[in-house]
């Protein structure tokens, strides 16, 4: 085990896989000479050379398509977007090519591709740079979506993503890049898709979260414990496929659930989770399932307004109390 920062863990995962398999390469803006816009690929150009760490012009749609085409014929590219917001420019490639080539060809082809970038809010970066894009992509069959919250999971999931034969979208978080955690050194340790992690056990309420919001949920859980409510916090890690079994098992124990995440309230991953709970654990619910989300407005620049718009621990606490009939 090593104590690594989240960004270092991603780097370690990618590097191990690149050493293991010549077909893996990294492509994106500023990944090489600039050392990575968020220093995730720092040092990789020097280690692997320009063929394996490829700087691109600003051509998200173009280089996403190139990665898809290359994957179709057997390479295993890792595309880095500077942020997930910019993937919108490449949405057609992701939606209509990456997710569809297998089906359109009747199963003759597959796309072993990884797309990765930081996701969600940053600090005062405005409405165009603050999206939580997983809600658009989990909707699409043919894609897989994962979102690690810890350095250990960051490494384990990126390795699984690279080894996966289907397109995997990997959602990081700028605010998590510097957090440290214990990370396995063994290059054969991977984290499987579709398996959640219980970040905190409890029997009073189930809080479901992923990525940065896992940490916010844990913060809320500490405060709730002081008031006698023991929250179970589930770190999903994998959004599609979704570990519904873990969710349902927890809700059957606690009888009440709150889903806390970044993203606008209309639809999205949180609404999908609520559907699964009401469908699969209907008889175990003592209260409706509540969601704590980003406010339904474009992200403002002003710092205080931004804090109002993004979901907070206080919002989680409030929701937990509502479902516990303690407000």
């Amino acid at each position: 085990m090593s104590a690594l920062r989240y960004r270092e863990a991603i780097r370690a995962g990618m590097s191990e896989e690149m050493e293991r398999d010549d077909r893996v390469f990294v492509i994106g803006e500023e990944v090489g000479h600039y050392q990575g816009a968020y220093k995730v690929t720092e040092g990789m150009l020097e280690k692997f050379g320009a063929k394996r760490v490829v700087d691109t012009p600003i051509t998200e749609s173009g280089f996403t398509g190139i990665a898809i085409g290359a994957a179709m014929v057997g390479l295993r590219p890792i595309v880095e977007y500077m942020t997930w917001n910019f993937s919108a420019v490449a949405f057609d490639q992701i939606l209509n090519n990456a997710a569809k080539v297998r089906q359109m060809s009747g199963g003759q082809l597959n796309v072993p591709l990884v797309l990765r970038a930081p996701n969600g809010s940053a600090r005062q970066v405005g409405s165009q740079h603050s999206h939580s894009m997983e809600h658009f992509y989990t909707h699409i069959p043919g894609l897989k979506c994962v979102a690690p919250a810890t350095p250990a999971d960051a490494k384990g999931l990126i390795k699984t993503a690279i080894r996966d034969d289907d397109p995997v979208l990997y959602f990081e978080s700028e605010t998590l890049y510097s957090i440290k955690g214990e990370v396995p050194d063994d290059p054969e340790i991977t984290v499987p898709f579709g398996v959640a992690r219980v970040a905190r056990e409890g029997a009073g309420v189930t809080i479901i979260a992923w990525s940065r919001m896992v940490h916010v949920a844990l913060e809320a859980a500490e405060k709730l414990a002081a008031e006698g409510i023991e929250a179970e916090v589930i770190d999903l890690r994998s959004l599609r496929p979704l570990d519904e079994e873990a969710i349902i098992k927890s809700v059957k124990k606690t009888h009440r659930a709150v889903v806390a995440y970044e993203g606008f309230p209309y639809g999205g991953v949180g609404a999908e989770i609520v559907d699964r709970i009401q469908r699969l654990a209907f008889d175990d619910l003592d209260a409706p399932v509540l969601r704590v989300t980003t406010r339904d407005v474009p992200m403002p620049y002003n710092a205080k307004l931004e804090q109002l718009v993004i979901p907070q621990a206080a919002g989680i606490i409030d929701a937990v109390k509502q479902v516990s009939y303690r407000s």
Partner: protein, 326 residues
Amino acid sequence: MTAETTDTDETKLSLYRKCFQIRRFEEEAARAYAQGKIGGFLHLYIGQEAIAVGAQEALQKEDYAITTYRDHGLALARGMTARAAMAELFGKVTGCSKGLGGSMHFFDVEHNMLGGYGIIGGHLPLAAGTAYASKYREEKRVTIAFFGEGSCSIGDFHEAMSLSALWKLPIVFVCENNEYSMGTPMVRTMSVEDVSQKAIGYGMDRDRFFCESPMQVRDRLKVAIDRARETSAPTLVEIRTYRFRGHSMSDPGKYRSSDELEERKRKDPVTKLRIDLESAGKLSELERLEKEVEEEIQDAIKFADESPEPGPELLEATTYKGAFAR
């Protein structure tokens, strides 16, 4: 400078047969569509056959080819059987894409025909990607990508061109300029009529000609294909051509005059080749091979009619290579 003048009659007959196969296939497909056996969109290649056939002659088997939704011609030229093609149009499980793709999504990995795509220009970065992979693996493999002049305005065309030139990818971009984007003539979609000039902005080699025969296409494309193979440099080739039917089956083609259509039909490369061969005394060979082709097409229709449909178990199975992710 072409090798055309030194082609043997046998070569020309062979090329004619391939063109004729595509033409008859398309005509029968149109009939089947009118009979309700084919649904959705059907974009016919009639009038443009010489391009796919000529290109195939210039390509090697392991080269990658990719095109738009007007893909039947290229697929058949690359070696897909008429059976697999017609069955796909009829939506049967014996189709090249198991009935899941339809007319716009013909794929045949064995013959390196990598699709059939519905989004204008969207396949061009993919083509740059397959070329990228060839270069990455240091293969002598070329990618050829076909598209219409209507694709030359959209972003993905430019990104693919830009990156191919920047990274010197082994790709040939072939613009099949049939003068109409659906109902819009090219003077209303492009500020510069000569599509090949777009290569200049990217520092890319180019070529441009009016399609007259499959031999001509073969010879001209070979230059670009060899360039890609030997020097890993891309080329943009514009081939002026014409389609004799509407954009698709739902297009009545009111945007061009019947005079224009008749005039272009007189310039049809396939018809001209036949006349050529007939003048060379090959009528009986022509009739024989035409008869064979007719039989082949009728057999394909019968095969398609009798083939079963795909079952729902194929749906999830073809969404992911791994286990279905929900």
